[in-house]
Symmetry: C2
Subunit: 303 residues, 2 copies
């Protein structure tokens, strides 16, 4: 393979493994060339806060300006404060249900407009650049190489499906149906004779993390990945599932070990196996650990 | 437009409406060019029995040969007999739950293999031809014209999602993720160290009929159709939803009025509005009623 195709990847065992997979994939039937990527922390920076948390903070500030009593609700105060301890104590599902109420009754088009408005003006908290610039250039190059080999490329995210769909085409060329995420409820409102789909207060099923990612891939996509990339304990099942394919497969775990160019932090597996840094799990299980510091010549997109 | 492009459509108001829509669509942004088709009775013949019912009958016969006591279960007897009255009395959801037990524990690959095996050998009950020949040629031509204009084309079916996915590529060129149907449950089995997805005994959510079709389009595809085609009361909301788009839109209702070349039968709307033949609803609401007898020069594919 012409190594100029992955210019942001430094030579080494990881790039060799990717190149070997890309070469091997050309022998696999096209319909089985399926690659799935986690989003936050895998395709773009998730620190200091998830983009969706910043979106909800912004939505909450706007809502509180109209109805200050909203702050009586502990879930909203915890989100506004970005208080992870409080969110954990209140229960993430309760917080998610409270947040779903904020957009209850909106049509998909209305919700999407709010998300697009957020992305149009949001800047990264530490760097002050548009969020599109926080995408990882090496991953964009990899997606390009996969597409050049006729792979179908999908996003499998713990964030809300519609939140990510609002940028999946412009950020990654992935259409809405290629995004598998956490789901809210919908109902069809026929009140004035015109059918309108509206968001409900419900959360549908489990958050799209861990085993739920596999179930939702089957339900939404119906195809089994042979490449999976993630960065946290919630991606463990995803990587294992891809590796258990009977075709050549590649599991990639991005290790955030670059405090200078990005952030240095560790995801700890609490449920998958005994509590250990996910990087240790990866090494035991033969996933390719991508060291941001060692393997990436360039980190961010300049878009 | 060159009328040779829809050779199986006879000249008339319906073909004119399709051609006008195809012309108008070229001015619509590509990402909004979304067409959805119901499956049974819209893209292929659903008489004398749904293909999925025949599949379940075959699966049941194989299971009963091993375990005759299965016939003690009224739901299985009713399915084997094709007894619609009994199925209605037992409750379609109870019957669906009983049928889900037949494939409980199977992986998606194992289930798909059974469906493929069915389609490889099944013949139409009245005509004795492979089921692929029961596809409607005019609809295949329409799908071709839509694709030539860069439409995304999806299947929205009341049948099981995975049942239809097994033939969606070979019959219609629609990938698995483009099929939105009724859903069973899945669970991730990690018992022997290798992750396997297995079908559960559960049915997830409502059957994919009526308003559920709209909700599931949003959840799975995240795109709003501007063309919808159906043939029964369960497609009413689908057609209305497409027509309520703010872009040029087309709603098509196929009327099975051709006893000579196919079958003559009527779908009666019981829940959508007052009980009436769906064709009457269509005329009142401005859907294009496609008369098989009048509008189609050829009915079936010769594949």
């Amino acid at each position: 393979m012409n190594q100029a195709k992955l210019p942001s990847w430094r030579p080494g065992a990881v790039r060799d493994a990717i190149e070997a997979f890309l070469d091997a994939a050309e022998m696999i039937p096209v319909e089985r060339r399926v690659a799935v990527f986690d989003h936050d922390g895998t395709l773009w920076c998730e620190k200091p806060r998830y983009a969706q948390l910043e979106f909800y903070q912004r939505e909450l500030r706007a809502a509180v300006a109209q109805r200050p009593r909203l702050l009586d609700r502990a879930e909203y105060q915890a989100v506004l404060d970005g208080d992870r301890v409080a969110i954990g104590q209140l229960g993430p599902v309760n917080v998610a249900l409270a947040l779903a109420e904020l957009h209850h009754g909106m049509t998909p088009e209305e919700y999407e407009a709010r998300v697009r408005d957020f992305f149009a003006t949001a800047r990264h908290a530490d760097r002050g650049v548009p969020l599109s610039q926080m995408r990882y250039r090496p991953m964009l190059e990899l997606i390009g190489e996969l597409r050049a080999r006729l792979f179908s490329v999908y996003l499998v995210t713990g964030s809300g499906t519609e939140f990510v769909r609002a940028i999946s085409v412009s950020f990654y060329g992935i259409p809405p149906e290629g995004v598998v995420g956490s789901q809210v409820g919908y109902e069809l409102d026929h009140a004035d004779g015109t059918p309108r789909l509206r968001r409900t207060r419900e959360i549908m099923g489990d958050p799209n993390e861990g085993p739920a990612k596999i179930v939702n891939i089957q339900r939404s996509l119906g195809r089994r990945p042979i490449l999976a990339a993630g960065n946290s304990a919630g991606d463990s099942q995803l990587l294992e599932y891809a590796l258990a394919s009977d075709a050549p497969a590649l599991a990639m775990l991005l290790h955030h070990d670059d405090a200078e160019r990005e952030y240095a932090y560790e995801s700890v597996a609490e449920s998958f196996e005994s509590r250990e840094p996910i990087v240790d799990t990866a090494r035991r299980r033969g996933w390719n650990v991508v060291s941001m510091r060692r393997d990436w010549a360039t980190v961010f997109a300049n878009a």
